[in-house]
Amino acid sequence: MGKVNLTLLLAAVAIVIIIAIALIFPLERLGQLYSLLLIFGGLVALLLRSIFAKEVDRRIIFLFIFVAVAAPLLFPITFSEKPTAVVKAVFDRVESLPPGSTVLLSFDFDPAMAPEVQPMANAISRHCLKKGHKVIFMSLWATGQALLTQSLTNTILPEFPEKQDGIDYVNIGYKAGNEGVLNVIVSNFEKMFPTDVNSVPLGEIEIFDDIRSCRDLDFIVSFGGGLPGSKEWVLFVGDPGGVDVAAGVAAVVAPQLYPYYPAQLVGILGGVKGAAEYEFSLKETYPDLKDMDTPGLKMMGPQTLAHIVIISFIVIGNIIYFRGRRKEKGQ
Protein backbone atom coordinates (compact mmCIF):
# COMPACT_ATOMS: atom_id res chain seq x y z
CA MET A 1 0.00 0.00 0.00
CA GLY A 2 1.26 3.41 -0.94
CA LYS A 3 1.64 6.32 1.36
CA VAL A 4 -1.45 8.01 0.00
CA ASN A 5 -3.55 4.93 0.51
CA LEU A 6 -2.41 4.67 4.09
CA THR A 7 -3.34 8.28 4.79
CA LEU A 8 -6.68 7.76 3.15
CA LEU A 9 -7.29 4.64 5.18
CA LEU A 10 -6.54 6.51 8.39
CA ALA A 11 -8.81 9.34 7.35
CA ALA A 12 -11.59 6.94 6.46
CA VAL A 13 -11.29 5.38 9.90
CA ALA A 14 -11.57 8.85 11.38
CA ILE A 15 -14.77 9.45 9.42
CA VAL A 16 -16.24 6.16 10.50
CA ILE A 17 -15.48 7.15 14.08
CA ILE A 18 -17.38 10.41 13.60
CA ILE A 19 -20.40 8.60 12.28
CA ALA A 20 -20.15 6.09 15.08
CA ILE A 21 -20.09 8.89 17.61
CA ALA A 22 -23.17 10.35 16.02
CA LEU A 23 -24.86 6.98 16.11
CA ILE A 24 -23.96 5.93 19.58
CA PHE A 25 -23.78 9.03 21.74
CA PRO A 26 -26.05 11.95 21.21
CA LEU A 27 -23.10 14.11 22.17
CA GLU A 28 -23.23 16.99 19.75
CA ARG A 29 -20.52 19.01 21.42
CA LEU A 30 -18.03 16.16 21.27
CA GLY A 31 -18.80 15.50 17.64
CA GLN A 32 -18.41 19.15 16.77
CA LEU A 33 -15.15 19.39 18.60
CA TYR A 34 -13.86 16.21 17.08
CA SER A 35 -14.70 17.14 13.51
CA LEU A 36 -13.43 20.70 13.80
CA LEU A 37 -10.23 19.36 15.30
CA LEU A 38 -9.98 16.90 12.44
CA ILE A 39 -10.40 19.58 9.78
CA PHE A 40 -8.24 22.27 11.28
CA GLY A 41 -5.62 19.88 12.59
CA GLY A 42 -5.38 18.31 9.16
CA LEU A 43 -5.12 21.67 7.47
CA VAL A 44 -2.35 22.83 9.80
CA ALA A 45 -0.49 19.58 9.23
CA LEU A 46 -0.74 20.03 5.47
CA LEU A 47 0.34 23.63 5.80
CA LEU A 48 3.48 22.58 7.63
CA ARG A 49 4.06 19.88 5.09
CA SER A 50 3.72 22.36 2.24
CA ILE A 51 6.84 24.18 3.42
CA PHE A 52 8.79 21.24 2.07
CA ALA A 53 7.06 21.77 -1.28
CA LYS A 54 5.28 18.45 -1.15
CA GLU A 55 2.18 18.27 -3.31
CA VAL A 56 -1.10 17.15 -1.75
CA ASP A 57 -2.94 14.24 -3.34
CA ARG A 58 -6.29 15.29 -4.77
CA ARG A 59 -8.03 12.55 -2.79
CA ILE A 60 -6.98 14.16 0.45
CA ILE A 61 -8.61 17.39 -0.74
CA PHE A 62 -11.77 15.42 -1.55
CA LEU A 63 -11.76 13.94 1.91
CA PHE A 64 -11.47 17.35 3.53
CA ILE A 65 -14.39 18.65 1.48
CA PHE A 66 -16.47 15.65 2.42
CA VAL A 67 -15.79 16.05 6.12
CA ALA A 68 -16.29 19.81 5.94
CA VAL A 69 -19.73 19.30 4.44
CA ALA A 70 -20.79 16.19 6.33
CA ALA A 71 -19.69 17.09 9.85
CA PRO A 72 -21.81 20.23 10.23
CA LEU A 73 -24.79 18.28 8.96
CA LEU A 74 -24.35 15.61 11.60
CA PHE A 75 -23.52 17.97 14.44
CA PRO A 76 -25.05 21.30 13.54
CA ILE A 77 -22.14 23.70 13.68
CA THR A 78 -23.34 27.25 13.33
CA PHE A 79 -21.16 30.29 13.10
CA SER A 80 -22.02 33.74 14.18
CA GLU A 81 -23.62 35.33 11.14
CA LYS A 82 -23.46 38.99 12.06
CA PRO A 83 -25.85 40.59 9.59
CA THR A 84 -24.35 42.85 6.97
CA ALA A 85 -25.83 46.30 6.51
CA VAL A 86 -28.08 45.24 3.64
CA VAL A 87 -29.69 42.48 5.69
CA LYS A 88 -29.72 44.48 8.89
CA ALA A 89 -31.69 47.20 7.10
CA VAL A 90 -34.50 44.76 6.31
CA PHE A 91 -34.52 43.35 9.82
CA ASP A 92 -34.54 46.79 11.40
CA ARG A 93 -37.36 47.95 9.18
CA VAL A 94 -39.59 45.04 10.20
CA GLU A 95 -38.52 45.56 13.80
CA SER A 96 -39.15 49.30 13.84
CA LEU A 97 -42.63 49.25 12.32
CA PRO A 98 -45.25 49.59 15.06
CA PRO A 99 -47.18 46.37 15.75
CA GLY A 100 -50.27 46.21 13.61
CA SER A 101 -48.62 47.59 10.49
CA THR A 102 -49.47 45.86 7.24
CA VAL A 103 -46.70 44.02 5.43
CA LEU A 104 -47.01 42.31 2.06
CA LEU A 105 -44.84 39.28 1.35
CA SER A 106 -44.76 38.08 -2.24
CA PHE A 107 -43.47 34.57 -2.94
CA ASP A 108 -42.20 34.94 -6.51
CA PHE A 109 -40.18 31.78 -6.97
CA ASP A 110 -40.36 28.23 -8.22
CA PRO A 111 -39.23 24.90 -6.76
CA ALA A 112 -35.80 25.29 -8.38
CA MET A 113 -35.16 28.48 -6.45
CA ALA A 114 -36.94 27.31 -3.30
CA PRO A 115 -33.93 25.86 -1.43
CA GLU A 116 -32.28 29.25 -1.49
CA VAL A 117 -35.26 31.52 -1.09
CA GLN A 118 -37.75 29.65 1.06
CA PRO A 119 -35.65 29.84 4.28
CA MET A 120 -35.55 33.61 4.15
CA ALA A 121 -39.21 33.84 3.24
CA ASN A 122 -40.03 31.73 6.27
CA ALA A 123 -37.78 33.77 8.52
CA ILE A 124 -39.30 37.10 7.50
CA SER A 125 -42.85 35.74 7.69
CA ARG A 126 -42.09 34.50 11.18
CA HIS A 127 -40.63 37.81 12.19
CA CYS A 128 -43.61 39.79 10.91
CA LEU A 129 -46.12 37.61 12.72
CA LYS A 130 -44.01 37.58 15.87
CA LYS A 131 -43.89 41.35 15.85
CA GLY A 132 -47.65 41.50 15.48
CA HIS A 133 -47.84 42.89 11.97
CA LYS A 134 -50.70 42.01 9.69
CA VAL A 135 -49.32 40.04 6.79
CA ILE A 136 -50.67 39.72 3.26
CA PHE A 137 -49.18 36.76 1.36
CA MET A 138 -49.31 36.58 -2.40
CA SER A 139 -47.41 35.26 -5.42
CA LEU A 140 -46.67 36.46 -8.91
CA TRP A 141 -45.54 33.00 -10.00
CA ALA A 142 -47.96 30.19 -10.65
CA THR A 143 -45.52 27.77 -9.06
CA GLY A 144 -45.09 30.12 -6.11
CA GLN A 145 -48.55 29.57 -4.75
CA ALA A 146 -47.94 25.94 -3.90
CA LEU A 147 -44.70 26.84 -2.16
CA LEU A 148 -46.47 29.64 -0.31
CA THR A 149 -49.17 27.30 0.94
CA GLN A 150 -46.49 24.80 1.89
CA SER A 151 -44.59 27.42 3.89
CA LEU A 152 -47.73 28.60 5.63
CA THR A 153 -49.24 25.27 6.56
CA ASN A 154 -46.05 23.37 7.35
CA THR A 155 -43.75 25.91 8.91
CA ILE A 156 -45.18 29.24 9.85
CA LEU A 157 -48.74 28.78 11.04
CA PRO A 158 -48.09 25.85 13.40
CA GLU A 159 -45.76 28.17 15.30
CA PHE A 160 -48.44 30.81 15.68
CA PRO A 161 -51.62 28.94 16.53
CA GLU A 162 -53.23 32.09 17.91
CA LYS A 163 -53.06 33.98 14.61
CA GLN A 164 -56.33 34.13 12.70
CA ASP A 165 -56.83 34.01 8.98
CA GLY A 166 -58.23 37.29 7.74
CA ILE A 167 -57.34 39.23 10.87
CA ASP A 168 -53.65 38.65 11.40
CA TYR A 169 -52.74 37.33 8.01
CA VAL A 170 -54.32 36.59 4.67
CA ASN A 171 -53.23 34.58 1.66
CA ILE A 172 -54.52 36.11 -1.56
CA GLY A 173 -52.68 33.62 -3.73
CA TYR A 174 -51.51 33.89 -7.32
CA LYS A 175 -52.80 35.91 -10.22
CA ALA A 176 -51.54 35.62 -13.77
CA GLY A 177 -50.29 38.73 -15.50
CA ASN A 178 -46.78 39.36 -14.17
CA GLU A 179 -46.07 43.11 -14.12
CA GLY A 180 -49.64 43.70 -15.16
CA VAL A 181 -50.77 42.51 -11.73
CA LEU A 182 -48.42 45.00 -10.09
CA ASN A 183 -49.69 47.77 -12.33
CA VAL A 184 -53.17 47.17 -11.06
CA ILE A 185 -52.61 46.51 -7.37
CA VAL A 186 -50.55 49.64 -7.00
CA SER A 187 -53.88 51.42 -7.26
CA ASN A 188 -56.39 48.75 -6.33
CA PHE A 189 -56.14 45.28 -4.79
CA GLU A 190 -59.70 44.22 -5.31
CA LYS A 191 -59.51 44.72 -9.04
CA MET A 192 -56.89 42.01 -9.36
CA PHE A 193 -57.68 39.88 -6.31
CA PRO A 194 -61.45 39.85 -5.85
CA THR A 195 -61.09 37.12 -3.22
CA ASP A 196 -58.40 35.41 -1.18
CA VAL A 197 -57.41 31.79 -1.81
CA ASN A 198 -60.37 30.53 0.22
CA SER A 199 -62.76 32.53 -2.01
CA VAL A 200 -63.58 35.01 0.74
CA PRO A 201 -64.27 38.36 -0.91
CA LEU A 202 -61.63 40.92 -0.06
CA GLY A 203 -64.31 43.29 1.22
CA GLU A 204 -65.12 40.87 4.03
CA ILE A 205 -61.52 40.48 5.16
CA GLU A 206 -60.59 42.64 8.11
CA ILE A 207 -57.06 43.38 6.95
CA PHE A 208 -58.37 45.00 3.81
CA ASP A 209 -60.66 47.36 5.72
CA ASP A 210 -58.14 50.14 5.45
CA ILE A 211 -55.95 48.74 2.70
CA ARG A 212 -57.17 49.60 -0.77
CA SER A 213 -53.96 49.46 -2.72
CA CYS A 214 -50.26 48.90 -2.32
CA ARG A 215 -49.89 52.57 -1.48
CA ASP A 216 -51.51 51.87 1.89
CA LEU A 217 -48.99 49.17 2.81
CA ASP A 218 -46.18 49.83 5.25
CA PHE A 219 -43.65 47.47 3.79
CA ILE A 220 -43.28 45.01 0.93
CA VAL A 221 -40.82 42.15 0.63
CA SER A 222 -40.52 40.24 -2.63
CA PHE A 223 -38.84 36.85 -2.58
CA GLY A 224 -37.42 35.35 -5.73
CA GLY A 225 -35.43 37.51 -8.07
CA GLY A 226 -36.57 35.90 -11.29
CA LEU A 227 -38.85 37.66 -13.73
CA PRO A 228 -41.16 39.11 -12.52
CA GLY A 229 -39.43 39.64 -9.22
CA SER A 230 -37.92 42.18 -6.92
CA LYS A 231 -36.90 44.50 -9.73
CA GLU A 232 -40.46 44.68 -11.00
CA TRP A 233 -41.77 45.33 -7.50
CA VAL A 234 -39.43 48.30 -7.27
CA LEU A 235 -40.21 49.67 -10.70
CA PHE A 236 -43.96 49.13 -10.75
CA VAL A 237 -44.94 49.42 -7.08
CA GLY A 238 -42.14 50.78 -4.91
CA ASP A 239 -41.25 53.81 -6.99
CA PRO A 240 -44.66 54.88 -8.31
CA GLY A 241 -46.50 54.00 -5.12
CA GLY A 242 -43.95 55.36 -2.69
CA VAL A 243 -43.83 52.14 -0.67
CA ASP A 244 -40.69 50.69 0.83
CA VAL A 245 -39.65 47.47 -0.87
CA ALA A 246 -37.05 44.93 0.18
CA ALA A 247 -35.84 41.92 -1.77
CA GLY A 248 -34.95 38.36 -0.86
CA VAL A 249 -33.31 36.71 -3.83
CA ALA A 250 -31.15 33.82 -4.98
CA ALA A 251 -27.41 34.41 -4.58
CA VAL A 252 -26.72 34.78 -8.30
CA VAL A 253 -29.28 37.53 -8.69
CA ALA A 254 -28.22 39.58 -5.68
CA PRO A 255 -25.37 41.49 -7.36
CA GLN A 256 -27.75 42.73 -10.03
CA LEU A 257 -29.95 44.33 -7.39
CA TYR A 258 -27.24 46.22 -5.56
CA PRO A 259 -27.50 49.28 -7.81
CA TYR A 260 -31.02 49.78 -6.37
CA TYR A 261 -29.78 49.81 -2.79
CA PRO A 262 -30.28 51.93 -0.73
CA ALA A 263 -32.24 54.40 -2.83
CA GLN A 264 -34.99 52.14 -4.11
CA LEU A 265 -34.58 48.99 -2.04
CA VAL A 266 -34.57 49.03 1.74
CA GLY A 267 -32.31 46.01 1.81
CA ILE A 268 -31.39 42.79 0.08
CA LEU A 269 -31.15 39.22 1.35
CA GLY A 270 -28.95 37.24 -1.00
CA GLY A 271 -29.16 33.46 -1.03
CA VAL A 272 -28.78 31.16 1.93
CA LYS A 273 -26.29 33.55 3.45
CA GLY A 274 -28.85 36.33 3.63
CA ALA A 275 -31.32 33.93 5.21
CA ALA A 276 -28.73 32.80 7.75
CA GLU A 277 -27.94 36.36 8.75
CA TYR A 278 -31.61 37.12 9.15
CA GLU A 279 -32.20 34.01 11.22
CA PHE A 280 -29.24 34.93 13.37
CA SER A 281 -30.61 38.41 14.11
CA LEU A 282 -34.02 36.92 14.76
CA LYS A 283 -32.63 34.46 17.28
CA GLU A 284 -30.60 37.17 18.95
CA THR A 285 -33.55 39.53 19.32
CA TYR A 286 -36.15 36.95 20.32
CA PRO A 287 -34.63 34.43 22.72
CA ASP A 288 -37.91 32.50 22.82
CA LEU A 289 -37.39 31.58 19.15
CA LYS A 290 -34.27 29.68 20.14
CA ASP A 291 -35.64 26.37 18.96
CA MET A 292 -37.03 27.53 15.65
CA ASP A 293 -35.99 25.78 12.47
CA THR A 294 -33.05 27.59 10.92
CA PRO A 295 -32.34 26.00 7.55
CA GLY A 296 -30.29 29.01 6.51
CA LEU A 297 -27.94 28.83 9.47
CA LYS A 298 -27.69 25.07 9.08
CA MET A 299 -26.73 25.41 5.44
CA MET A 300 -24.09 27.97 6.30
CA GLY A 301 -22.11 25.53 8.43
CA PRO A 302 -21.09 23.31 5.49
CA GLN A 303 -20.72 26.35 3.25
CA THR A 304 -18.37 28.16 5.60
CA LEU A 305 -16.27 25.13 6.41
CA ALA A 306 -16.00 24.13 2.77
CA HIS A 307 -14.97 27.66 1.83
CA ILE A 308 -12.35 27.62 4.56
CA VAL A 309 -11.04 24.32 3.24
CA ILE A 310 -10.88 25.53 -0.35
CA ILE A 311 -9.19 28.80 0.56
CA SER A 312 -6.71 26.94 2.77
CA PHE A 313 -5.85 24.64 -0.09
CA ILE A 314 -5.32 27.60 -2.40
CA VAL A 315 -2.92 29.03 0.18
CA ILE A 316 -1.20 25.67 0.58
CA GLY A 317 -0.92 25.35 -3.19
CA ASN A 318 0.76 28.73 -3.42
CA ILE A 319 3.19 27.97 -0.61
CA ILE A 320 4.12 24.75 -2.37
CA TYR A 321 4.58 26.63 -5.61
CA PHE A 322 6.85 29.30 -4.16
CA ARG A 323 8.84 26.87 -2.04
CA GLY A 324 9.22 24.62 -5.04
CA ARG A 325 10.46 27.47 -7.16
CA ARG A 326 13.01 28.43 -4.56
CA LYS A 327 14.21 24.86 -4.40
CA GLU A 328 14.63 24.79 -8.16
CA LYS A 329 16.58 28.02 -8.02
CA GLY A 330 18.74 26.65 -5.25
CA GLN A 331 19.70 23.74 -7.40
Binding site: A254, Q256, T304, V309, G317
Partner: protein, 274 residues
Protein backbone atom coordinates in the same frame (compact mmCIF):
# COMPACT_ATOMS: atom_id res chain seq x y z
CA UNK B 1 -26.01 16.29 -57.21
CA UNK B 2 -24.83 14.47 -54.13
CA UNK B 3 -22.99 17.57 -52.93
CA UNK B 4 -24.98 20.39 -54.48
CA UNK B 5 -28.44 19.64 -53.16
CA UNK B 6 -27.45 19.73 -49.47
CA UNK B 7 -25.62 23.02 -49.98
CA UNK B 8 -28.63 24.49 -51.74
CA UNK B 9 -30.95 23.25 -48.99
CA UNK B 10 -28.78 24.79 -46.30
CA UNK B 11 -28.63 28.11 -48.11
CA UNK B 12 -32.34 28.20 -48.85
CA UNK B 13 -33.59 27.43 -45.38
CA UNK B 14 -30.86 29.44 -43.70
CA UNK B 15 -31.66 32.56 -45.68
CA UNK B 16 -35.36 32.09 -45.06
CA UNK B 17 -34.80 31.86 -41.33
CA UNK B 18 -32.75 35.04 -41.38
CA UNK B 19 -35.28 37.01 -43.35
CA UNK B 20 -38.30 35.83 -41.44
CA UNK B 21 -36.91 37.71 -38.46
CA UNK B 22 -37.50 40.98 -40.24
CA UNK B 23 -40.95 40.05 -41.49
CA UNK B 24 -43.51 40.15 -38.71
CA UNK B 25 -46.35 39.15 -41.02
CA UNK B 26 -48.39 36.12 -40.13
CA UNK B 27 -47.52 34.16 -43.23
CA UNK B 28 -43.82 34.27 -42.43
CA UNK B 29 -44.57 33.22 -38.86
CA UNK B 30 -46.60 30.35 -40.19
CA UNK B 31 -43.72 28.92 -42.23
CA UNK B 32 -41.34 29.58 -39.37
CA UNK B 33 -43.40 27.56 -36.92
CA UNK B 34 -43.70 24.73 -39.39
CA UNK B 35 -39.97 24.56 -39.92
CA UNK B 36 -39.34 24.52 -36.19
CA UNK B 37 -41.76 21.64 -35.73
CA UNK B 38 -40.13 19.80 -38.59
CA UNK B 39 -36.66 19.98 -37.09
CA UNK B 40 -37.97 18.55 -33.83
CA UNK B 41 -39.72 15.69 -35.59
CA UNK B 42 -36.68 14.82 -37.68
CA UNK B 43 -34.70 14.87 -34.45
CA UNK B 44 -36.96 12.21 -33.03
CA UNK B 45 -36.33 9.99 -36.03
CA UNK B 46 -32.66 10.47 -35.46
CA UNK B 47 -33.12 8.89 -32.02
CA UNK B 48 -33.35 5.56 -33.75
CA UNK B 49 -29.90 6.17 -35.22
CA UNK B 50 -28.59 7.02 -31.78
CA UNK B 51 -29.99 3.88 -30.22
CA UNK B 52 -28.59 1.78 -33.02
CA UNK B 53 -25.18 3.33 -32.49
CA UNK B 54 -25.35 2.72 -28.74
CA UNK B 55 -26.29 -0.90 -29.32
CA UNK B 56 -23.59 -1.44 -31.92
CA UNK B 57 -20.82 0.13 -29.90
CA UNK B 58 -21.80 -1.88 -26.83
CA UNK B 59 -21.84 -5.15 -28.73
CA UNK B 60 -18.58 -4.20 -30.40
CA UNK B 61 -16.97 -3.69 -27.02
CA UNK B 62 -18.17 -7.07 -25.86
CA UNK B 63 -16.91 -8.64 -29.03
CA UNK B 64 -13.44 -7.12 -28.89
CA UNK B 65 -13.15 -7.56 -25.11
CA UNK B 66 -12.42 -3.87 -24.56
CA UNK B 67 -11.65 -2.73 -20.99
CA UNK B 68 -14.78 -3.10 -18.83
CA UNK B 69 -16.58 -4.92 -21.65
CA UNK B 70 -18.73 -7.00 -19.33
CA UNK B 71 -20.55 -3.94 -18.09
CA UNK B 72 -21.95 -3.33 -21.54
CA UNK B 73 -24.46 -6.07 -20.89
CA UNK B 74 -25.69 -3.90 -18.07
CA UNK B 75 -26.07 -0.95 -20.43
CA UNK B 76 -28.06 -3.02 -22.90
CA UNK B 77 -30.25 -4.61 -20.23
CA UNK B 78 -30.86 -1.23 -18.61
CA UNK B 79 -31.80 0.19 -21.99
CA UNK B 80 -34.10 -2.65 -22.78
CA UNK B 81 -35.74 -2.76 -19.37
CA UNK B 82 -36.42 0.95 -19.21
CA UNK B 83 -37.89 0.90 -22.72
CA UNK B 84 -40.02 -2.03 -21.70
CA UNK B 85 -41.33 0.00 -18.75
CA UNK B 86 -42.07 2.88 -21.05
CA UNK B 87 -44.27 0.78 -23.28
CA UNK B 88 -46.12 -1.43 -20.85
CA UNK B 89 -48.82 -0.85 -18.33
CA UNK B 90 -50.40 -2.71 -15.47
CA UNK B 91 -54.03 -3.61 -15.91
CA UNK B 92 -54.79 -4.12 -12.26
CA UNK B 93 -53.12 -4.21 -8.88
CA UNK B 94 -51.30 -7.52 -9.27
CA UNK B 95 -47.94 -7.80 -11.01
CA UNK B 96 -48.67 -11.24 -12.44
CA UNK B 97 -45.90 -12.63 -14.61
CA UNK B 98 -44.55 -9.18 -15.42
CA UNK B 99 -41.15 -9.66 -13.83
CA UNK B 100 -40.53 -13.23 -15.01
CA UNK B 101 -41.27 -11.95 -18.50
CA UNK B 102 -38.82 -9.11 -18.00
CA UNK B 103 -36.09 -11.46 -16.82
CA UNK B 104 -36.56 -13.91 -19.67
CA UNK B 105 -36.71 -11.13 -22.24
CA UNK B 106 -33.44 -9.76 -20.91
CA UNK B 107 -31.98 -13.26 -21.03
CA UNK B 108 -33.02 -13.57 -24.65
CA UNK B 109 -31.21 -10.34 -25.38
CA UNK B 110 -28.03 -11.40 -23.57
CA UNK B 111 -28.00 -14.88 -25.13
CA UNK B 112 -28.53 -13.47 -28.61
CA UNK B 113 -25.58 -11.16 -28.13
CA UNK B 114 -23.53 -14.07 -26.80
CA UNK B 115 -24.44 -16.07 -29.86
CA UNK B 116 -23.38 -13.30 -32.19
CA UNK B 117 -20.15 -12.63 -30.31
CA UNK B 118 -18.81 -16.11 -29.56
CA UNK B 119 -17.49 -18.28 -32.32
CA UNK B 120 -18.07 -21.52 -30.47
CA UNK B 121 -21.22 -22.68 -28.74
CA UNK B 122 -23.47 -20.61 -30.95
CA UNK B 123 -26.05 -23.36 -31.16
CA UNK B 124 -26.28 -23.67 -27.39
CA UNK B 125 -26.84 -19.93 -26.93
CA UNK B 126 -29.38 -19.76 -29.72
CA UNK B 127 -31.20 -22.77 -28.34
CA UNK B 128 -31.40 -21.29 -24.87
CA UNK B 129 -32.52 -17.97 -26.30
CA UNK B 130 -35.22 -19.82 -28.18
CA UNK B 131 -36.44 -21.45 -24.97
CA UNK B 132 -36.71 -18.13 -23.19
CA UNK B 133 -38.32 -16.57 -26.23
CA UNK B 134 -41.01 -19.22 -26.08
CA UNK B 135 -41.45 -18.47 -22.38
CA UNK B 136 -41.88 -14.79 -23.21
CA UNK B 137 -44.48 -15.53 -25.86
CA UNK B 138 -46.37 -17.81 -23.49
CA UNK B 139 -46.45 -15.10 -20.85
CA UNK B 140 -47.62 -12.48 -23.33
CA UNK B 141 -50.43 -14.69 -24.53
CA UNK B 142 -51.69 -15.97 -21.19
CA UNK B 143 -50.92 -13.20 -18.70
CA UNK B 144 -53.54 -10.47 -18.60
CA UNK B 145 -52.32 -8.53 -15.59
CA UNK B 146 -50.28 -6.25 -17.81
CA UNK B 147 -50.10 -5.32 -21.45
CA UNK B 148 -48.20 -3.43 -24.07
CA UNK B 149 -50.01 -0.24 -24.32
CA UNK B 150 -50.03 1.29 -27.67
CA UNK B 151 -53.51 2.39 -26.94
CA UNK B 152 -53.03 5.31 -24.56
CA UNK B 153 -50.70 8.23 -24.24
CA UNK B 154 -50.22 7.38 -20.58
CA UNK B 155 -46.95 5.53 -21.14
CA UNK B 156 -44.98 7.70 -18.80
CA UNK B 157 -47.29 7.07 -15.87
CA UNK B 158 -46.02 3.52 -15.56
CA UNK B 159 -45.08 2.83 -11.95
CA UNK B 160 -41.84 1.09 -12.73
CA UNK B 161 -40.84 3.81 -15.17
CA UNK B 162 -41.22 6.34 -12.38
CA UNK B 163 -39.48 4.11 -9.86
CA UNK B 164 -36.46 3.73 -12.14
CA UNK B 165 -36.48 7.45 -12.76
CA UNK B 166 -36.66 8.32 -9.05
CA UNK B 167 -34.31 5.70 -7.71
CA UNK B 168 -31.76 5.19 -10.45
CA UNK B 169 -31.62 8.22 -12.69
CA UNK B 170 -32.10 10.92 -10.07
CA UNK B 171 -29.58 9.60 -7.50
CA UNK B 172 -26.84 9.12 -10.08
CA UNK B 173 -27.62 12.38 -11.80
CA UNK B 174 -27.59 14.37 -8.56
CA UNK B 175 -24.46 12.64 -7.29
CA UNK B 176 -22.57 13.22 -10.53
CA UNK B 177 -23.58 16.84 -10.26
CA UNK B 178 -22.46 17.06 -6.64
CA UNK B 179 -19.02 15.69 -7.55
CA UNK B 180 -18.44 19.22 -8.80
CA UNK B 181 -18.05 20.34 -5.18
CA UNK B 182 -15.00 18.10 -4.91
CA UNK B 183 -13.59 18.95 -8.30
CA UNK B 184 -13.97 22.68 -7.80
CA UNK B 185 -11.74 22.31 -4.73
CA UNK B 186 -9.08 20.19 -6.41
CA UNK B 187 -9.08 22.45 -9.47
CA UNK B 188 -8.67 25.52 -7.27
CA UNK B 189 -5.78 23.91 -5.43
CA UNK B 190 -4.04 22.90 -8.63
CA UNK B 191 -4.57 25.97 -10.76
CA UNK B 192 -4.83 28.98 -8.49
CA UNK B 193 -1.11 29.57 -8.16
CA UNK B 194 0.47 32.96 -8.67
CA UNK B 195 2.53 31.89 -11.66
CA UNK B 196 2.15 35.10 -13.66
CA UNK B 197 0.07 38.25 -13.74
CA UNK B 198 -2.92 36.56 -15.34
CA UNK B 199 -2.99 33.66 -12.90
CA UNK B 200 -2.54 36.05 -10.00
CA UNK B 201 -5.51 38.15 -11.06
CA UNK B 202 -7.60 35.02 -11.44
CA UNK B 203 -6.53 33.88 -7.98
CA UNK B 204 -7.11 37.22 -6.26
CA UNK B 205 -10.56 37.73 -7.73
CA UNK B 206 -11.61 34.24 -6.71
CA UNK B 207 -10.22 34.73 -3.21
CA UNK B 208 -12.00 38.04 -2.69
CA UNK B 209 -15.29 36.55 -3.76
CA UNK B 210 -14.84 33.46 -1.61
CA UNK B 211 -13.86 35.55 1.39
CA UNK B 212 -17.22 37.27 1.55
CA UNK B 213 -18.24 34.89 4.32
CA UNK B 214 -17.93 36.40 7.78
CA UNK B 215 -16.59 33.86 10.20
CA UNK B 216 -13.14 34.29 8.75
CA UNK B 217 -12.37 37.56 10.40
CA UNK B 218 -13.21 37.12 14.06
CA UNK B 219 -13.05 40.45 15.84
CA UNK B 220 -12.25 42.26 12.62
CA UNK B 221 -15.58 41.28 11.07
CA UNK B 222 -17.27 44.69 11.16
CA UNK B 223 -14.32 46.29 9.39
CA UNK B 224 -13.48 43.77 6.71
CA UNK B 225 -16.59 41.73 5.99
CA UNK B 226 -18.72 44.52 4.50
CA UNK B 227 -15.82 45.61 2.34
CA UNK B 228 -15.32 42.08 1.03
CA UNK B 229 -18.97 41.55 0.22
CA UNK B 230 -19.19 44.94 -1.48
CA UNK B 231 -16.05 44.31 -3.47
CA UNK B 232 -17.28 40.95 -4.61
CA UNK B 233 -20.58 42.47 -5.66
CA UNK B 234 -18.74 45.19 -7.52
CA UNK B 235 -16.58 42.58 -9.25
CA UNK B 236 -19.69 40.74 -10.34
CA UNK B 237 -21.42 43.91 -11.49
CA UNK B 238 -18.75 45.95 -13.18
CA UNK B 239 -15.71 44.10 -14.55
CA UNK B 240 -17.87 41.04 -15.05
CA UNK B 241 -20.35 43.03 -17.09
CA UNK B 242 -17.59 44.51 -19.21
CA UNK B 243 -15.92 41.16 -19.86
CA UNK B 244 -19.22 39.51 -20.62
CA UNK B 245 -20.01 42.23 -23.11
CA UNK B 246 -16.67 41.94 -24.83
CA UNK B 247 -17.09 38.18 -25.07
CA UNK B 248 -20.68 38.37 -26.21
CA UNK B 249 -19.90 40.91 -28.92
CA UNK B 250 -17.03 38.74 -30.10
CA UNK B 251 -19.10 35.58 -29.93
CA UNK B 252 -21.92 37.33 -31.74
CA UNK B 253 -19.57 38.18 -34.59
CA UNK B 254 -18.18 34.66 -34.60
CA UNK B 255 -21.65 33.18 -34.72
CA UNK B 256 -22.73 35.48 -37.50
CA UNK B 257 -19.61 34.73 -39.49
CA UNK B 258 -19.88 30.96 -38.99
CA UNK B 259 -23.57 30.92 -39.83
CA UNK B 260 -22.97 33.03 -42.92
CA UNK B 261 -20.15 30.77 -44.04
CA UNK B 262 -22.41 27.77 -43.65
CA UNK B 263 -25.41 29.36 -45.29
CA UNK B 264 -23.44 30.79 -48.20
CA UNK B 265 -21.74 27.45 -48.71
CA UNK B 266 -18.23 28.76 -48.03
CA UNK B 267 -17.76 26.29 -45.19
CA UNK B 268 -19.04 22.90 -46.24
CA UNK B 269 -16.73 20.52 -44.48
CA UNK B 270 -19.64 19.20 -42.46
CA UNK B 271 -21.62 18.08 -45.48
CA UNK B 272 -19.46 15.29 -46.66
CA UNK B 273 -18.28 13.93 -49.96
CA UNK B 274 -18.27 10.78 -51.90
Amino acid sequence: MKRQIPVILVGMFGLFMIFQYFVPHESSEWVYEFLLDWTIIIGIFAMALGLWSLYRVSVEKIKTRKPAWGYNYLTLCGLFTMMFFGFTTQNGEAWGWFFPFLVSANLVLVLMIQASVNKGGRGLFLGLAGVFLVACVVIIVFDNTWGFHFETAQGLQSTMFRAFFDHILIPIFATMFSLLAFFIASAAYRAFRARNVMATLLLLAALIVMLRFHPFYGPLTPYIAPFMSKTSNWLMNVPNLAAQRAIIIGVGLGIVATALKVILGIERGYMGKG
